[in-house]
Symmetry: C4
Subunit: 217 residues, 4 copies
Amino acid sequence: MAAAEEPVLSRRAYGGSKGRLEAFSDGVLAVVITLLALDLHVQADGPGSLAPQLRHEWPSFAAFALSFFVVGVIWVNHHALFALVARVDRTVVFLNLLLLMWVTTIPFSTSALADYLRTGGLDTHLAVLLYGISNEGMALSFTLILRHLLRRQLLRWSPGAGEARGSLRRFGLGTALYPVITLVGFFAPVVMLLLYAAQTGFYMVEQTPILPPSTSD
Amino acid sequence: MAAAEEPVLSRRAYGGSKGRLEAFSDGVLAVVITLLALDLHVQADGPGSLAPQLRHEWPSFAAFALSFFVVGVIWVNHHALFALVARVDRTVVFLNLLLLMWVTTIPFSTSALADYLRTGGLDTHLAVLLYGISNEGMALSFTLILRHLLRRQLLRWSPGAGEARGSLRRFGLGTALYPVITLVGFFAPVVMLLLYAAQTGFYMVEQTPILPPSTSD
Amino acid sequence: MAAAEEPVLSRRAYGGSKGRLEAFSDGVLAVVITLLALDLHVQADGPGSLAPQLRHEWPSFAAFALSFFVVGVIWVNHHALFALVARVDRTVVFLNLLLLMWVTTIPFSTSALADYLRTGGLDTHLAVLLYGISNEGMALSFTLILRHLLRRQLLRWSPGAGEARGSLRRFGLGTALYPVITLVGFFAPVVMLLLYAAQTGFYMVEQTPILPPSTSD
Amino acid sequence: MAAAEEPVLSRRAYGGSKGRLEAFSDGVLAVVITLLALDLHVQADGPGSLAPQLRHEWPSFAAFALSFFVVGVIWVNHHALFALVARVDRTVVFLNLLLLMWVTTIPFSTSALADYLRTGGLDTHLAVLLYGISNEGMALSFTLILRHLLRRQLLRWSPGAGEARGSLRRFGLGTALYPVITLVGFFAPVVMLLLYAAQTGFYMVEQTPILPPSTSD
C-alpha cells in the first residue's frame, strides 16, 4: 500500500491513504453490479414453462442491462476522478460512503422498476421516482465529492478558479438531468429507459467532463 | 504486495504482511454493506401495490440507512487503525476475524430489527437486544485488537504508557455505550434508532479518538 | 497503486491505470463464482427428506461445477491477458465492462440450465440457448478486447502483423465453437455438458493460445 | 502490482504474478464468509414470533459460527502459505481454483447441516457427510497445492527433502482427520461440531504446521 510513502503527519491526520478507499469502493461496486443479475431468475417449479417466463421478464432483462452500465459508468467516473486525487481527508471518506449508499440502492430500485414498469398508474410513477432518486443521489454525492476536492485542493494539481467553476457547473447540469428524465418517465416509462440508455451510451463514447478539456492534454 | 520488502524472519513468524488482512477485511465489509440493501424489496406479485409496501417497509429503509453508516464507520475506523500498524501477528489476524464475524451478523440483526421494531412486546425487546449484541461484539473486538497492538508494540511508533491507557479508556467508554442504548431501546425503540444515528453522526464530524489528540499532529 | 509512476498526461487521457480495472474485475469474478453455489440448496421444511432432494438436484451440482470452472478459466485468461497490457484506454474499460456483464449472467443461465435440463422440449432448448449466449457473449467480448489491444498497441511489446492475426484467428475459432456446442445441446443436453467440460479441461492442461507460441518463451 | 518487476519470460510463461491470485482468493473467501450469515434469518410474517424462531434456529447459529472460523482458518493458511511462494505456475492457479470451489460449497453444506442436524436418521448422516466432503475437499486441495509448490520449487527458499516430506506428512495427517470426525458425526452430530470447533481452535493458538518448526525462526 502507498501508505508507507506518505509523510507521517498527513497519514495520522486522516489515518490512511486513498488506496483502501479505492479498494473498498471497488468491492462495493463489484458486489452491486453482480447482484443486479440476481433479479434474473426463472423457476422449474414456477408458473409454467420457461418461454413465457422469459417473455414476461423482459423488463427485468432491460433493467438489468441498463443498471449494469449505469453502475459501470459510476465505476469509470470514480476511477477517473480518484486517479487525480493526491490525498483524501475524513470528509471525502464520508462523502464517498454517501455515494456508495446510493449505489447500493440501485439493485432495489432496478428491481422495483422491472416489477412495476408495466402495471401503470401510481405504482409505475413510484417505481420511476425510486429509480430517479437512486440516480440523483449518486449524481449529487459525486458533485459534493468533486466540490470538496476542489475547495480543499486535494487534487494532484491546482486548477484555476474558472476551470474549477466550469467543471462543477458541468456536473451541476448532470444532476439537473435526472429530474427531467424522471418527469418524462411519469408519462412514458419506456422513453425514460431509452433516455437513461442514451445518457449512459454518451458517457461511453465521450470523455467524462470531470475536467475542463483544456487540462486534459 | 508489500510482503517482498519485509525481513524474511518476521514474515515467516506470521506468514504474511498486513496487506492481505486489509484486503480481506475490505472485501468482507464491502459485501456486508452491500447485502444490507438486499433486505429492501418489493414484489409485483406480493401483497398489493407498491405504495402500501413502501409505507409498510419504512423500518427497513431506516434500518438500512443506519446500518450502512454503522458498518461504514467500522470501515473508517479499521482503515484508520491499521494505517498505524507496522506489522500484524497471528493474534491480530484472529481478533480481526472475530471483529469480521460480528460485522457479518449486522445484516441479520438489522433485518430482525426492521421486522420486529413495531410489533412490540418481547419480540421488539429481542430484536433490540440482537442489534445491541452485534454492535457490542464489534466494539469489544475492536478494543481487543487495539489493546493487543499496544501491548505487543505493533504500531508504527511507541505511544507512552499514559497515552496508551487513555486511548484504551476512551474505547472502553464506547463499549459501555451500547448496553445503555440497548436499554433505552427496550422502552423506546425509535429513540434508540436516533441514538445510534447520533453516535454514528458524531463519528462522521469528529476525529475518531483512536489516538490521543497529542499524537495526531 | 501503479498510477503514481505513470506520466501525468496518459493518466489524464484515461484517468487511471490498469490496477483498478484488474481489481474491479477480480471483485466481479469472485462474486459471480461464489454466487454459483447459491443455487445449491436443500430445505428441511421442503418437499421431504434430504436424500431425494440431493438426487433430484444432480443437474444443479453438475451445472455448478461446470460453471465454476468456466468462470475460473475466464479469470485465468483475464489475468494472463492483462498481465501483458501496458496501459488501458477508455475503450478497453468499456469492453471489459461488456465482458463482465456477460459473466454476471452466468449464474442465471446456469440456474436455468439446471432447472430445465431434463424437462425436454422447447424449455430445454431455450435453457441450452441461454447458456450458449452467456458463453458466446464472454468469448466475443474477450476477442473484442484482444483486437482493440492489438490495434492500439496497448500491449507491453509489439507483436508482428502475422502474430497478431494468428492470435486473433485462434480466438475467432473459440467463438465459433459455442454455437456448435449449443447446436449439439439441442439434441443431447448431457453431451453438451461433457463438451463444455472437455473444452474447459483442455484450457486447464494446455496453455491458453492468447499469444503465438513463438513469443511465449 | 508486482507484475512489472518480474522478468518478462516468467510472466509470459504463466501470464501473471501471484498478486491477482491472492486478490481473487481474498475476494472469494470474503464473499463466502459473508454469505454464511445469509442463512441466519427470521421473518415477521413467518411462523409466529421471534423468540421461538431464535430458539429453533440454534443449529444455524452454531453452524454459522463454526463455518465462519473454518473458512477463516482457510484464509489464514492460504495467506501464510502464499506469503512463502516466489512464483506461481498454471498448475498452482488451477489447484487454487479447485480449493476455492470446495470453499464455495461451505455455505451449502453448512446450511444442510443446520437444517438436518436434529432430524436424525439418514438425513442427518447425509448432512454430516456433505459437511465432511466440503472440509476434506479443502484439505486435499491444500495438500495438492503444497506438494506442487515443493516439487516445482516455487517457494522463496528450498527446503531439504526431509523437511518437505515432514511438512507434507503433517498435512496428510490433517486430511485423514476429517473422515474420522465425519464417522463420529454419524453417531453423535453434536460431538462432531465440538471436534470441528476444537480443531479450528487449535489452529488459532498453535502455529499452522505448514513449515517444519526449524525453518520458522
